[in-house]
Symmetry: C2
């Protein structure tokens, strides 16, 4: 995949309101979107820093993926998302390159984005995502 760049860095947090304020105060972040996504068990906030983005993720319950991550590792960096032209083509390329995909089919992510996740075992411990804004 020829990624266009890093679309966002995903960060798991306990208190979303407080985390948004921290990124605003410390790094001049600006809240771009905020949404509760029950299907994924998260409430998420996209923070712009310059042309880049931090995606803050708070768990809606302990038994969600982000809830389990928080219980195991505590708050912190969760994933890196790469912007691609076409998520379906990117997922096929990644599989052909030997990567294990969590989503073999693109799925609807947050904020209207199309996404697919790559298993961290395939990227030296980094949960990685390809994303297209359409």
């Amino acid at each position: 995949v020829e990624a266009r760049g890093i679309h966002h860095v995903g960060v798991a947090v306990v208190d979303l309101d407080e985390a948004v304020r921290t990124y605003e105060r410390l790094f001049g972040g600006r809240l771009e979107h905020r949404a509760r996504v029950d299907a994924q068990g998260v409430e998420a906030a996209s923070i712009r820093v310059g042309d880049d983005r931090i995606e803050l993720l708070a768990a809606l319950g302990d038994d969600t993926p982000v809830g389990k991550f928080l219980a195991k590792r505590g708050p912190g960096m969760h994933h890196v998302a790469y912007e691609v032209d076409d998520v379906r083509a990117a997922a096929a390329d990644l599989a052909a390159g030997g990567a294990e995909l969590i989503d073999s089919e693109p799925r609807q992510g947050m904020f209207g984005l199309e996404v697919a996740f790559v298993h961290p075992e395939s990227v030296h411990g980094v949960l990685s995502e390809v994303v297209s804004s359409g």
Copy 2:
């Protein structure tokens, strides 16, 4: 601090050669710099992905900061670096904003950059860096 954007995402790895190849193969990354920095106990490679960067960090020994991180958490995401105009002014702003700095004075980072680190406790578990290319 009004950060200009994300300068790089730092990732701790076990095998630097293999990790560079993985980012080239999976995401179209291009090796920008590579250097061994004995003072910091790392060998580092800066990978461009579009206009963005992944900074891969391999430990030169178990008793280095990255070596201890790898022993405790395994390979994975290590820090987020924000580009600022002036690291000294940014560090003063961050301290005034209540952040605990690891480096109260800017120091020489890798690849000729001036850097200061912010304690993860001040940023919801994310080790954060401010960096200036000069």
